[in-house]
């Protein structure tokens, strides 16, 4: 059975001239708009688990949105929901439109046109996400074939090309190897190669570089930046590496217990942190300049049980700034300052005056790739 493919937009293979898409500087319209996305897991014999609770955000072409936040806060689930890749026990509501196409509730056939073509995803766990019985080359080739009507040989060539693109040494050789023969980082790069195979409009990178050493990580990130510039790809990067997010994202979204707690453009967010959770995150980052073994600053307590979410603010129990109302009413995600939303009754004070550093315009760097 052949998959009928519809060309969505004009897409040039990676490594060729840009197709005249948006570069930096413009404010393109959102390619993805997510509205009140909710995901609940329900399995017989267990209380329903609310993994994502009303997520709204948008991503623009050529831009990068970073989702950071607590482990288990629904980051992966929320993006999997966009692609219709949740297990049967998942119930999804809300809306997510990709260039005006509603993704939620879309039938499998239509979703298939979107997957890979329009949205591609790098899964968090490459070890399990690769088919153990298929050579990695074939798996990349499959992604290529889904989108390009080209011959076997060309598919193989393209797959090798993609392996080289993600900096895998001895690409021709690795083509024939199986996932278990690769190191963690190599597998991850294979996943990235698969995602890049079709030049998607939206690339979701779920902790796509955690298994990479920093040099390779930098190379891969440059590769993505280059892609964005040439093809206008929008990127959602999920990461626990705040520095990485801060360095490469245009907008940042912080999640806690299935909800957004703070959202702004990168500069604003990191410079004017308002939500206590974001603040706590920042303070917990180990720093290169700090001597070894210095105790890290953490906050006590545990994230809430998603199947029994408390009334009021979910972060309240661990929040150093919690006040009475936090236990009664859930703080709304309001736009307190232009472009800066956060959900907190008692945020950190605005710290505009404490602006010391020169903001890095991440678009000004002109690094040559390869």
């Amino acid at each position: 059975m052949n998959v009928v493919e519809t060309e969505v937009g004009v897409e040039a293979p990676v490594g060729m001239a840009p197709s005249g898409a948006s570069g930096s500087g413009k404010e393109p319209r959102p390619i993805l708009e997510v509205n009140d996305l909710r995901v609940t897991f329900s399995r017989a014999g267990a209380p329903p688990l609310h993994a994502v609770n009303g997520l709204s955000y948008s991503v623009r072409s050529g831009r990068t949105l970073a989702i950071i936040g607590e482990s288990g806060s629904g980051k992966s689930v929320s993006v999997r929901a966009l692609m219709g890749l949740l297990p049967p026990s998942a119930f999804v509501t809300g809306s997510a439109t990709l260039s005006d196409t509603e993704l939620i509730g879309m039938n499998e056939k239509a979703l298939r046109q979107i997957r890979g073509n329009d949205i591609a995803m790098v899964f968090q766990d490459p070890a399990r996400s690769l088919n153990p019985t298929m050579s990695v080359g074939k798996q990349i080739g499959e992604a290529v074939r889904m989108h390009l009507q080209i011959g076997r040989k060309e598919v193989a060539e393209r797959a090798v090309e993609l392996l080289k693109l993600v900096r895998l040494p001895a690409a021709e050789h690795r083509y024939h190897e199986y996932p278990h023969q690769l190191s963690g980082g190599m597998r991850q790069r294979v996943m990235i190669a698969i995602a890049l195979a079709a030049n998607p409009k939206l690339l979701i990178a779920d902790e796509a570089t955690t298994a990479l050493d920093v040099t390779t990580q930098a190379q891969i990130m440059e590769l993505l930046v280059d892609l964005q510039e040439r093809l206008g790809t929008a990127v959602i990067m999920i990461s626990h590496d705040l520095a990485l997010a801060a360095s490469y994202a245009d907008d940042v979204l912080v999640m806690y217990a299935g909800k957004i707690v703070e959202r702004a453009d990168t500069k604003t967010l990191f410079r004017h942190v308002r939500h206590p959770y974001t603040k706590a995150l920042l303070e917990a980052i180990p720093q290169l300049g700090v001597p070894s073994h210095t105790s890290l600053k953490t906050i006590a307590g545990e994230p809430p049980d998603l199947s029994a979410l408390p009334v009021g603010c979910a972060f309240r129990a661990r929040c150093p700034r919690a006040v009475d109302i936090c236990a009664i009413k859930e703080p709304p995600l309001d736009e307190h300052e232009p472009g800066h939303r956060f959900a907190c009754w008692n945020p950190h004070p605005a710290s505009g005056d404490k602006d010391t550093g020169i903001p890095i315009d991440i678009r000004t760097r002109d690094e040559d790739l390869s």
Partner: protein
């Protein structure tokens, strides 16, 4: 074309290195080693069979002679059948003859077993091969179709049908087929086998119902088994999701990803069935009056005709061992983790 044109000009070191590499392939080494062991297994089986026959079949000459024969007649028969030599001697002289390429003669009919084989082996082989081809050719796509939408209408219909067929013994099925296609519709012959030299079409017509009777239960079994496995893989493996996320259609996911994984269980079952079916054709051969090897083995075993039984056993065991050998090699081909096994 001259013969020299057929020999590629290869520099000697190139040739050896290529040869060396292929011979060094673990798959080839595994195959060769297993093949040798398989031969031993087959002969071990013949020894066991011979011993069991000796132990259980009693006075073969007497059985053969029937009730009205006198003692002297039975003794003469015993002598004529060569049963008055010790069993061990008989087994080893048989074994020696087999290694010289002589299958010997039937104790009962005195016919050379090679002519018996020439006549009967093709029948059974044809039945078995066609039964597998037909059952797999139908079962695999249907299982995939059913697994495509588990719980869907098609899946349910297929399930009920395959369960019904599974609950129907093949011998009853065979009789029902005859009643429908021979008695009622007069489309197909109720019995008999037309050898290939009578033409392909008559041959195929004559084996249609036996093959159906053999393959329908297999089909039902394979369909259910494969469908179950496919659904399991589709439900529990992450790489299936990766494939989906590439935009691969459900068919592609099923074929390329889930099927490949499910094929392990399937292969195992098919390998087992090949062994089982070569003997299992006996009832069908009987019902359709096909001159097959299954019937030959049955009659031989019942009569204690050990040379015939042993030769049949060699063939059946070789097929069964061979099938399982192929299956094991297929595992290694299909799952690289097994081939390079690190544990």
């Amino acid at each position: 074309m001259t013969s020299s044109a057929l020999i590629p000009v290869v520099r000697s070191e190139e040739r050896t290195s290529l040869l060396g590499r292929v011979a060094g392939s673990p798959l080839v080494r595994l195959a060769v080693r297993r093949l040798l062991v398989s031969v031993l297994i087959v002969f071990a089986i013949t020894a066991i069979v011979f011993a069991l026959l000796e132990a259980t079949s009693g006075d073969i000459a007497r059985k053969q002679a029937g009730m009205s024969a006198s003692e002297e007649q039975v003794a003469a028969l015993r002598h004529q059948m060569g049963l008055d030599t010790p069993p061990v001697v008989r087994y080893f002289s048989w074994l020696g003859a087999v290694f010289r390429g002589d299958f010997g003669h039937s104790l009962i009919s005195g016919q050379p077993i090679s002519t018996l084989l020439a006549e009967r082996l093709p029948v059974t082989i044809e039945l078995v091969v066609l039964a597998f081809v037909v059952s797999l050719a139908v079962a695999v796509p249907i299982a995939v179709l059913a697994a495509h939408k588990p719980g869907g209408i098609f899946d349910r219909i297929v399930m009920v049908i395959s369960m019904t067929l599974l609950a129907l013994p093949n011998y009853v099925l065979a009789l029902l087929l005859v009643i429908v296609f021979s008695v009622m519709l007069r489309m197909l012959p109720a019995i008999g086998y037309a050898p290939l030299d009578q033409g392909v079409i008559p041959n195929l017509i004559s084996v249609t119902m036996p093959v159906l009777a053999l393959s329908i239960p297999l089909f039902a079994f394979y369909t259910r088994f494969l469908r179950g496995d496919l659904v399991e893989v589709m439900n529990s493996e992450d790489y299936v999701e990766t494939a989906r996320s590439k935009g691969a259609g459900p068919w592609r996911v099923l074929w390329q990803h889930a099927f490949r994984n499910s094929s392990f269980g399937m292969l195992t079952i098919v390998g087992l069935n090949v062994g089982g079916l070569v003997g299992g054709t006996v009832i069908i051969e009987q019902i359709f009056a096909m001159p097959g090897l299954g019937v030959t083995l049955l009659q031989g075993a019942l009569a204690g005709d050990s040379p015939v039984v042993l030769v049949c056993v060699i063939i059946f065991a070789a097929i069964a061992v061979g099938a399982n050998l192929v299956v094991d090699l297929m595992y290694a081909v299909l799952d690289p983790r097994i081939r390079y096994g690190s544990h």
